[in-house]
């Protein structure tokens, strides 16, 4: 009696994700964070509108819009540097450590210059409790600075891994999505809050 032919072996199909899990997760996180900033900017706009032209409130300093333009430029160039890093990584360039390091330095310069500006404004009497302007300014710009610092920590880790030759695409692009969010959120904050 003939034995039944063996059943064909079905190999498990190896599926590769279209978008890395980390990148997609970060994009959803960015959506939530965008709404956080949208809410803050929206409430600031309404409070400023209700001031009926008395803005900044009496006794409060004008925000240094011109000086902050330099910080803004540094951050925007850093975001462009991130685009260059992504392009080089996709082209499998030997190393992305140098442009990544430059982007990090520009981002760090932005945070440092913002810190200097905070100290200057505090010395001029603008504080979290001094007025609605102070409250909104320190909450909105402070929240953005916290995001920038978190992104700089991640970018620093990416730079270190790039130096070691162990940088993976998923980590790099997850970090860059967050960094681009920090960069893209800033102009909206700058033009709404400073002017």
């Amino acid at each position: 009696m003939d034995a039944a032919p063996p059943a064909p072996r079905i190999l498990p199909v190896r599926r590769t994700p279209i978008i890395a899990n980390g990148v997609l997760g970060m994009m959803l996180f960015v959506v939530a964070e965008s709404m956080f900033f949208a809410g803050l900017i929206s409430s600031f706009t309404i409070v400023k509108s209700n001031a009926m032209g008395l803005w900044p409130p009496p006794g409060q300093p004008l925000l240094p819009a011109a000086e902050t333009a330099l910080n803004t430029a540094a951050l925007l160039v850093s975001g462009l540097g991130g685009l260059f890093v992504a392009w080089r990584f996709r082209k499998q360039a030997p190393s992305v450590a140098l442009p990544l390091g430059i982007s990090w330095l520009l981002g760090a310069a932005f945070v440092a210059l913002q810190g200097r500006e905070w100290l200057m404004l505090l010395s001029q009497g603008l504080s979290l409790r001094s007025s609605q302007l102070g409250s909104f300014f320190f909450v909105i710009v402070g929240a953005h600075a916290l995001h920038a610092i978190a992104a700089l920590v991640a970018l620093g880790i990416a730079w270190w891994r790039a130096q070691q030759g162990t940088l993976k695409g998923e980590f790099l692009f997850t970090t860059l999505v967050f960094w681009w969010f920090v960069v893209a959120a800033w102009p909206a904050i700058y033009f709404r809050v400073y002017f």
């Binding site: 279209i18 959803l28 929206s42 009926m52």
Partner: protein
């Protein structure tokens, strides 16, 4: 012809139509100090309503774009064309 509404519902609809008065759905818009403030309320309401939609559709569009790109690459690889770009 099917009866869509009973007489009671018709009567209630008629009463609503007759006795309806203007209502301010937003509790703050009606108390705006000026036209400019009112316009700000409306603009921010639109901003806060449309921003999440734009963000969600943006993520969805990105995912669809990546799926299509992946399909193009798979088709090109299967037909031996190499890089589809």
């Amino acid at each position: 012809m099917p009866v869509l509404f009973s007489n009671t519902v018709r009567s209630l609809l008629l009463m609503l139509a007759v006795w309806g008065v203007e209502a301010l759905a937003c509790p703050v818009c009606g108390q705006a100090k000026s036209e400019e403030v009112n316009a700000t309320y409306v603009a921010m309401t639109a901003f806060m309503s449309l921003t999440p939609l734009a963000l969600i559709f943006g993520v969805a569009a990105f995912v669809v774009h990546r799926i299509k790109k992946s399909e193009r690459e798979a088709t090109a690889t299967a037909s031996g064309e190499g890089d589809p770009r």
